[in-house]
Symmetry: D3
Amino acid sequence: MAERIVVINPNCTQAVSAAIDAALQPWRMAGGPAIECVTLAEGPPGIETQAHVEQVVQPICRLVRARQDAGAFVIACFSDPGLHAAREVTARPVFGIAECGLLTALTLGERFGIVAILPSSLPRHLRYVRQLGLAGRFAGDLPLGLDVVELADEARAFERMVAVGARLKDDHGADVLVLGCAGMAQYRGALAAALGMPVVDPTQAAVTMAIGAVRQLHEGDG
Amino acid sequence: MAERIVVINPNCTQAVSAAIDAALQPWRMAGGPAIECVTLAEGPPGIETQAHVEQVVQPICRLVRARQDAGAFVIACFSDPGLHAAREVTARPVFGIAECGLLTALTLGERFGIVAILPSSLPRHLRYVRQLGLAGRFAGDLPLGLDVVELADEARAFERMVAVGARLKDDHGADVLVLGCAGMAQYRGALAAALGMPVVDPTQAAVTMAIGAVRQLHEGDG
Amino acid sequence: MAERIVVINPNCTQAVSAAIDAALQPWRMAGGPAIECVTLAEGPPGIETQAHVEQVVQPICRLVRARQDAGAFVIACFSDPGLHAAREVTARPVFGIAECGLLTALTLGERFGIVAILPSSLPRHLRYVRQLGLAGRFAGDLPLGLDVVELADEARAFERMVAVGARLKDDHGADVLVLGCAGMAQYRGALAAALGMPVVDPTQAAVTMAIGAVRQLHEGDG
Amino acid sequence: MAERIVVINPNCTQAVSAAIDAALQPWRMAGGPAIECVTLAEGPPGIETQAHVEQVVQPICRLVRARQDAGAFVIACFSDPGLHAAREVTARPVFGIAECGLLTALTLGERFGIVAILPSSLPRHLRYVRQLGLAGRFAGDLPLGLDVVELADEARAFERMVAVGARLKDDHGADVLVLGCAGMAQYRGALAAALGMPVVDPTQAAVTMAIGAVRQLHEGDG
Amino acid sequence: MAERIVVINPNCTQAVSAAIDAALQPWRMAGGPAIECVTLAEGPPGIETQAHVEQVVQPICRLVRARQDAGAFVIACFSDPGLHAAREVTARPVFGIAECGLLTALTLGERFGIVAILPSSLPRHLRYVRQLGLAGRFAGDLPLGLDVVELADEARAFERMVAVGARLKDDHGADVLVLGCAGMAQYRGALAAALGMPVVDPTQAAVTMAIGAVRQLHEGDG
Amino acid sequence: MAERIVVINPNCTQAVSAAIDAALQPWRMAGGPAIECVTLAEGPPGIETQAHVEQVVQPICRLVRARQDAGAFVIACFSDPGLHAAREVTARPVFGIAECGLLTALTLGERFGIVAILPSSLPRHLRYVRQLGLAGRFAGDLPLGLDVVELADEARAFERMVAVGARLKDDHGADVLVLGCAGMAQYRGALAAALGMPVVDPTQAAVTMAIGAVRQLHEGDG
């Protein structure tokens, strides 16, 4: 029985895959499913535009079709690229990190805020929140507004996350935050502590749900 | 000044493009914009799955980028494939036929029904109606449930449209219908007459809005 | 076949009708429908209160009934006075500029803002946005707050529009604006340029939809 | 201090006013406000179309302005004609029976059904339910579909009400009903008993709220 | 026939019951129902937490069951504790003050604001507004943020109410306020006057609806 | 570090706890958290009324407070009794099975149906779906309508589940089901197979989320 969760980083940046892999370490349990992070070779260095979102869909579907050994898949990009296309090409469950991150946030607060990287992602997030039917629980979405160099400076990046999170809390009424990117997990705990509110890493949320899906395959086992 | 509307049929079936072209004939006015229907060579014969929807996005974007002579674009597939990606690659307005068809329906009734071709499109339509924020005006969505051979039989196809439309009206409370496909325009008038309710052809709706956008370029003209 | 769109200015101020007429000039195309702007003699000088909205309903209905030569009607006041009453007295399509302006805005952005004239119109707009089922796409509504003398000063009026539009964008999250009055079309292009976001003139939006409706009458023509 | 509630029947049929008057008898208490039912001389025999709704607005406003002795007004027609216009011409509270009937229903069940007279009223009701922001609690709306002669036959009318109410309950999931007309109060109790579910007479609901508004004027009294 | 409304203060503080009793004095009319305020002996001194809300449910149900002489009940705490449980144990109508206060506010403005006592109540209020299906009319909810000593200083409390109400009006777009506590009725009129907008005392709103329910028992009387 | 999930069966029926315990067996992994099912001694034999829901809140809170050894709690009753009260008395995450079951269903379909036991639970479910802000994804809720003896007959119970699930699918448009009770897990797989659609056991969904919460405590571990 399939005992492996394949986490797909749809951009081609190995460092991002490595960061995701590290963030998922606690979700690897003896007796539990293997969790494998794979990098989509065909992906762009980062998913920043609607075109990026859509260009990775077919490669993701090919990868999903090829990995017959997987019990569940996670698409580790906050735009959930190819989520519904992938669900059509496999009978195994496929989880999107935005979907799972936002749904998990609903168990932790009344109104979620999203900490985004780029301003240009905001309309896409808005459309997705409405598509999910979750607009009634949405507080706001704010971008860090940092360029690549600034993002690479961890202290600077964290400082911005705290500032953006505080605005989501104070001005927009958010009482739980979701990190709007697969590559911010390392800041999750510190951000929650700094703001005094729960913060969800969406990849962890999706892998959690994938574990549940994989364990379901054991129902009826002695 | 750009005086041309490029209507993109994202499937590669010339007969569909020809049918679209014929349905748009009344929208061609001597002093109005040219309306050109193009077939996406890279498209599948029909857009039937989420994978089809996403595989045409990049070709659509390339086509949009290439057509600098266009004043506006219409994507003539009811899944509005690549709509937001295309909007990112051009400053000219891009219209999706589902978006325009549903919005136009709101001027003709309180609750719209969708006459779909395939049962498998229904979840995609549902997601899109929610994404557009129009769920409060949505009555229902029913598929014709005909295979390709049956669809080709016009009398049979029309008979099914009437039956499906009647169910949307009587059981789901629709008071306006939207044809859920670019290739059904030829039935629009007869279906409206048979059911006694307005029926929107989405490509006509989108081309109408595109004409408005193109005429806007003449503001301030003597 | 009826080839005329009758645009009804429901206030009795000829200068407003003239401004509307000028703004529609680009929508008059050789081979397309005639566009005729008429002033409602029975209307008040401006539609400023709920009572004004309702007192013009019967005169509008009489006018609609009398104009058998019209292929479509547009009611050119942002309160859409008498829209549903007029639809009951004619089989020809009737378009309200608020309805069409807001629907058209949905093709240009995620969340629309309304640039209103008077603070007292805001509750009426709120009710209408809810009635249309579009509250999930609504960002905000702000009045210019200028008196008649100030409005007549074009530079002053435009300055206020820019300030109000900027607040709708920055504080309310609007990414598309709708002009909340039939008489502001002359500022549309400049306002869009000044704010760097699309701006919809609602009368142009409604006339566009009316052209589509009138062209539909030619379906099946050679 | 004003101690009188003026209930306006906006149609000119005295028999309807008399029926309303009788239905309100229990709301007349020795120490409570006077409740006076007046017939709008300018009204049509019945409010059946959108045009009827709007033609009574100005007469209602005139009546409201004239009755300086009233502490509160109730507009006793389920289309709430002129409600917002009347609120602009008086500082005294004005209640619409549809508004109050639907709001009161929310205290008695999860999802309300409306028992309408005419099929043609349904779109108007739908628009109003959305305008009120109550669509999330709306189960359905069904017309009796009786002509005037049949309605006058009380046994026949009641039989239809029971049938329509049962369909709203069983097929649409309503667990509370609102009578969609000012003239059905006499059937309220029997209908509730026959269906085993609460039934709201909207005029009684509105007069109840008007009593509350009038008593508020006594706050601070010894 | 039962002619008594029992108003239950679910906290054990007699002074609160006395304040409620005083605020209801104008609702006592000759010929109308008796209005009796009772203090829940088992309640905490104040309902401040979700645990408080739930611990009073069973005592409220016992009290409701015991009072066979009541024609209607009002639960006078803005968390509407035990509302649905109480409705299960009696055939008589039971009204919650939050429910009735919010519904009544909808007759007085487009978007309601809530003046809360404690910041910790806000998530509970948010859940309740959504549960009622009224989120589309909700403007905001702000706490006074005063401790018990400060609340006891009437001038200080009123000053804070005005400040909080002004923020709800100016920053959140509220045009009607609801007092978020049973013990603030004494400030209602002055707050409305200071802010120039309607203010609803929820206990008065609920007792009003209870009077309507009790009078309904007299339908068909001579 | 706390490595134990305490699953609280809030009714006092040991057989239900045993069934829950068995259904969770696959979620117990060698390196994962312990999963302990406890029976609430103070609970009624079954949670069937709103009063039952509320009477277990305080015992649940006491139990939560007492179990300092737990890393997360699951309240295993589909009414999520005491969920928000329990969250106030512990810093550890508390999951309700209805909340988690419904949220998990959103990853598996567009519109969820609920298979309920008792007709009397439906209004409570409706209120909860609205409270969660998930009404836009809700298809329907149908009760099995079996008495205790019939429920005990497994073949009979399963037959009814299939019939009810088929109605939710065919008549209400559900494409994913949630079992509306903690005690139906044994039927999950067979029901999904019989209906050809995903079925969520809510307790499994909640324990999955609890595992995620507990693993989060290991972030930053070597």
